[in-house]
Symmetry: C2
Subunit: 406 residues, 2 copies
């Protein structure tokens, strides 16, 4: 009798993964970035220099730097946060992690247990929302405006929770280039957010993965920079500024949080070559690289807005992103973007259906997130045209495109 190994699996497993079939022809999903901007020559140089200088430390777990990550990379990160986001970090406040996804897992593991309540922006990063759901945590969506979370509504939410005897564990926010809506929360509103968190005795989890990619090159001070009470845990990433495949992100937190993050972390560190090469590369080139990348992404952003205008006309509503690699598009009520997603996938166009990026899935069912970082300018134009065709075929909108009736 043959053995069925699945008879030994645990209960409640997620459905099996499907085999991977390569990237779609028009790839408007995921945090992929501009391939031509990967700084190959400088990586080769950095890699040779750092390996020859200290490659022998690869023989030890954590190099010579201990569990918080390669010390020179932590020095770069602390310096960059201080210079670019007005923070005041030391290397002891920095933990290098394997992409910001690990930051989410570790911070969640320190703060959350089943039955807890958290608040997030009503449209937010899917990877965060699915994590809350898996952990059995109730997530409430704070309404968004042109400048991020609307503080009046948030105040009402917090007051309602308090009257129910509930203190949220934290408010999770992506204040700078909000994912997916692309807004930037101004400094005044950040101070209001801190004040509200103080009044209702809750913490803030600030996810700043896109903050270096504003198109005008400016960014407000981080919420953590404005915090005087150790209320904010902060995370960032090199995935969007340098390259996602590297899998290097970071957390900034005071020692009372850091010592707990380290206690729940069980992976013996992140990949050393990435940490070494990033430290070597970034200390010389980060500012100039990011400044150039801002321009490349801005051009792609303009291209996708032009393509949406040309192909969808007034059927596609969006707010011009302040930076980053994605645009949040709302289609007419008749369009179910989950169905559009399925039809488009079958035709080689990948998009993120809005329901998967919304605390209340129903509120995102006419919206979609389109990422423009990875496709070329031509692919952006062709892909959006193809998407308009598919949308017309499935839902009858847009009726006209590029001045031609369909």
């Amino acid at each position: 009798m043959a053995f069925d190994i699945s008879s030994r699996f645990r209960t409640g497993l997620p459905a099996p993964a499907a085999p991977w079939n390569g990237f779609p022809a028009y790839n408007f999903v995921g945090g992929h970035n501009d391939a031509a901007s990967v700084p190959i020559d400088a990586f080769v140089e950095a890699s040779e220099r750092v390996l020859r200088r200290e490659g022998q430390t690869l023989a030890t777990y954590g190099l010579d730097s201990g569990p918080q990550g390669y010390a020179p990379l932590r020095e770069f990160i602390a310096g960059a946060l201080n210079a670019r986001a007005g923070m005041a970090e030391t290397t002891d406040n920095i933990l290098v992690v394997s992409g910001s996804l690990q930051a989410l897992d570790l911070v969640n593991d320190v703060f959350l247990e089943p039955g807890d309540t958290v608040i997030a922006e009503e449209a937010s990063y899917q990877g965060t929302l699915t994590r809350f759901e898996r952990l059995g945590v109730r997530c409430l969506g704070a309404p968004l405006g042109e400048e991020g979370i609307r503080m009046d509504t948030l105040a009402n939410m917090l007051a309602d929770l308090k009257s129910d005897g509930v203190t949220p564990k934290f408010i999770y926010t992506i204040p700078t280039v909000q994912n997916p809506t692309g807004t930037v929360m101004p400094e005044g509103r950040r101070l209001e957010l801190l004040k509200l968190a103080g009044a209702y005795d809750t913490a803030i989890f600030e996810d700043d993965c896109y903050a270096d990619l504003t198109f005008d090159g400016t960014r407000p001070r981080a919420i953590r920079a404005l915090d005087t009470e150790n209320r904010v845990v902060y995370c960032g990433s090199f995935s969007k500024t340098i390259a996602p495949a590297l899998r290097v992100g970071f957390v900034a937190a005071d020692w009372d949080v850091m010592s707990r993050l380290l206690a729940v972390k069980r992976d013996a560190g992140s990949g050393a070559l990435e940490q070494m090469v990033l430290a070597e590369y970034c200390s010389a080139h980060f500012d100039s690289h990011v400044s150039k990348l801002q321009g490349v992404l801005h051009e792609k952003c303009r291209a996708i807005m032009e393509a949406l205008d040309a192909e969808f006309g007034t059927s596609a509503e969006y707010r011009e992103p302040k930076g980053g690699i994605f645009i949040w598009v709302t289609l007419p009520d008749g369009v179910d973007t989950m169905k559009l997603y399925e039809a488009a996938a079958a035709d080689g166009v990948a998009l993120n259906p809005g329901a998967e990026w919304s605390v209340e899935p129903a509120s995102g069912r006419h919206s979609m997130r389109l990422c423009f970082g990875n496709p070329t300018l031509d692919e952006i134009r062709e892909g959006v045209a193809k998407l308009a065709d598919i949308c017309h075929r499935e839902f009858g909108v847009p009726v006209r495109s590029a001045n031609v009736a369909r």
Copy 2:
């Protein structure tokens, strides 16, 4: 009123981590390896070649290879397992993970839930035992002999469990260079193990992290190679053969298991530079590198045995390891190695107390694991001498060392 962020932490958190103070002077713990053996020149070459050829794929999550890891590395791994361990893997059976620790987490996540029972060798890898404990899984220890698990005792354990209505989820084994005892299970016994697993309807989790490091260069076929029923999930690592700081390991499993491992994996892949550089380096140099490393480690193993003989005399009992980077030493009944560990740590000598490497902590309380991969030959001699002094000071043994009464 100042905010106490720990008031928002979850219940049941592990104790905070202590700040890192650098490696001890005599470092006999951890899977650290020989620093002089890190192949720096070849890494520099491999790194330049692979970056220039395909560095632009760093702009995409998973490169162009999907969620199972960089395809050329999976090709190397499958080929090496087939050539060196008699397996018959395709690249579809290989998942690249961030060190074998992630392999443990993923396999555990697919198979285990609180209340489950597993069987492990009575002395086993601490990282595995602590994981079972954290998951609320009962782990039973199978007695070990010169050739690994004693099959007669295992048969009795399985029969007893069956009479209690319990089917273990799997038998976790490190058959080749068992951690910590350094034994190698011969092929005949591997077949017996498969037969017993078959008779009692359980799976096998084969951890083969040290299998390439036998001192005589030979290894039996893997248990997974002998399995005809898809009963065995297999993991290995580059930490011991190349460098631990890289954090690259792998799982070999059929698709019914692989598709579940992928479904519970949420990290967007392992570091790309390591995967790219390892694939490039290993396809040219793995066999010759490992062959040379076997010799280096064998010399260090002889040095630690000589030092133990000289410094501890008959007070230190050990079995000569067949390979790897550690030796399992048992001291007289009067020596509590947990106390020795504390006293030695204060004096700059790090060791693994046996209780932490034993399914039943009490059974390991006179034993310790000493890792000899990272210290130099001189550090091995000095460190063991220092340890003997500390042990004499604390417990009165050894009475004599190097022919001198203490």
